[in-house]
Symmetry: C2
Subunit: 300 residues, 2 copies
């Protein structure tokens, strides 16, 4: 069987974890890593790093580019690779813009006989599939998605942007019914006023609506752990039966989970007709290695 | 928007719950109930009961027949309705025979421009989707499916077939790591020897491999509750990250959950190309009412 040829674009936490997940997948082959020009000529475990996907050694073209850049850069990356007929997978996580991204990439993908799977990972991604299943099982009711305890990348970046902050970590602490508290740990610049910094953090749009506690620490790095958790709870109605209780919990290494979901979706991209898909538009069997019969016999 | 026209075939616990779930779905219409000839002319909440689907009043034909008979009768039912161009949905739950049923119905469905969705409900069904997602998120590891506490239909029927048993209830009690204990409650016939009956139950193929306790009771009916539970646990590896912890739990009215899943799959049957599908072959979005944009915006 011919292996699926993967390029990893970007080499942060997620990019590195994607490389590991691709290497662990028997039906995939890591062709190379695409990174900024300054990294040109470097290698990662003998995998070549280039600044342009066309510089890979492989005679055959890349099947799927897994886009591991920040969400804001994802649309541009996808618009670069899809016209080359290369499938793309990303973890674009700006929930309010997912629909627009889908419609934007769908036409490009179809025009180039390629497939783009967007907004995979933890949430959107695995959590989206759970929310869809819960809704199918209980059409009426309320779903609560609770995150953490775990590091919030977005909130951490927001704190780091505040004047006087040298380094920061923002932890998301679940407070029930889809609400969250924020525990923020900061190192401050010499001469900065901690009380003033703490007030600025609490009044930042990222934090103003949440119960936020700011703590001064000597070394933020000592506190960082990539574990995260999600807990989705729904109490709903099936037909006329109330009090149907559904719950999903994952406690995971966050970059590894996100990366694995992206890699499984890369497989799915080889099995779907051209177009752009979110995870709830994919049959789950397409994410799994192996043949239909073996999967259905062992798992359904 | 034209409503999906549903026929319910069979009117046991599941059939009744399917009628309720169809009535609660705004995009569906219950055309009627098909039942054995002796029920002909009866009604259920003004819905006509007939012994032949062709006797329905509706001018337009039925879109989907939801098959609520015992698993053994499902293949024959599907082979009757699919050639009429009517989609079918069932909760066929003999795990070892699902693949064969799929291949058997796939050709018939395609030849008649119809769609058959098999083995929906709790397990197979909702649990199958969870197992597939867990495998996609952590390709290495062990999945345990734990059932109960709740009534096992199959085990209860097996006990009732034993000589000297007047009535019975077999409860499935989870014992961890996918193993189960059986708590069996029996009424016995006058003159029957309880100790002998209990021994026969424990040596029955349904029970011989499980820790089974048999209790004599005056009235089995007083003990029956249709609640059931499933708990799926997986500890696995994403890429090179071990100890990824995934868990799903549902505590539900079992017939209502099964029925709702069948009704959601009836909707999906209207959106899939002709053929026969298990639930892991369906995009979850197809199970939900409403348009793609609204679902993606609100749920992904």
């Amino acid at each position: 069987m011919e292996k699926i040829k993967i390029a990893v674009v970007g080499l942060g936490n997620i990019g590195k974890a994607v490389c590991e997940a691709v290497n662990a997948a028997e039906d995939m082959e890591l062709c190379g890593i695409v990174r900024r020009a300054s990294a040109e000529g470097e290698t990662l475990n003998e995998i070549k790093i280039v600044d342009d996907i066309k510089k890979f050694d492989k005679v055959n073209k890349v099947d799927v580019a897994i886009l591991c850049g920040p969400s804001r850069e994802v649309p541009g990356m996808a618009e670069k690779y899809l016209p080359m007929g290369i499938n793309t997978v990303d973890s674009f996580d700006i929930h309010s813009e997912i629909w627009d991204l889908k419609t934007r990439l769908d036409g490009i993908a179809k025009a180039n006989n390629a497939c783009s799977i967007i907004s995979t990972g933890m949430d959107p991604g695995a959590d989206s599939i759970i929310r869809a299943l819960f809704l199918a099982l209980t059409p009426r009711g309320i779903t609560y998605t609770n995150f953490g305890p775990g590091m919030s990348m977005g909130h951490t970046v927001a704190v780091k942007a505040i004047a006087g902050v040298k380094s920061a970590l923002s932890m998301t602490i679940p407070a029930g019914a889809g609400t969250h508290n924020r525990m923020v740990y900061v190192e401050i610049e010499p001469g900065a006023d901690f009380a003033a910094v703490a007030e600025k953090i609490k009044s930042d749009p990222y934090f103003v609506n949440d119960n936020t506690k700011v703590t001064l620490v000597d070394n933020v790095n000592d506190l960082i752990d990539m574990g995260h958790a999600a807990n989705i709870v729904r109490k709903g109605v099936s037909g006329t039966a109330h009090n149907q209780l559904l719950e999903f919990t994952m406690k995971v290494n966050n970059p590894a989970l996100t990366a694995q979901m992206m890699v499984s979706c890369a497989r799915a991209s080889m099995r779907r007709p051209p177009g752009c898909y979110t995870v709830v538009e994919l049959p789950l069997i397409d994410l799994l290695p192996g043949g239909t019969e073996q999967i259905i016999r062992s798992l359904v």
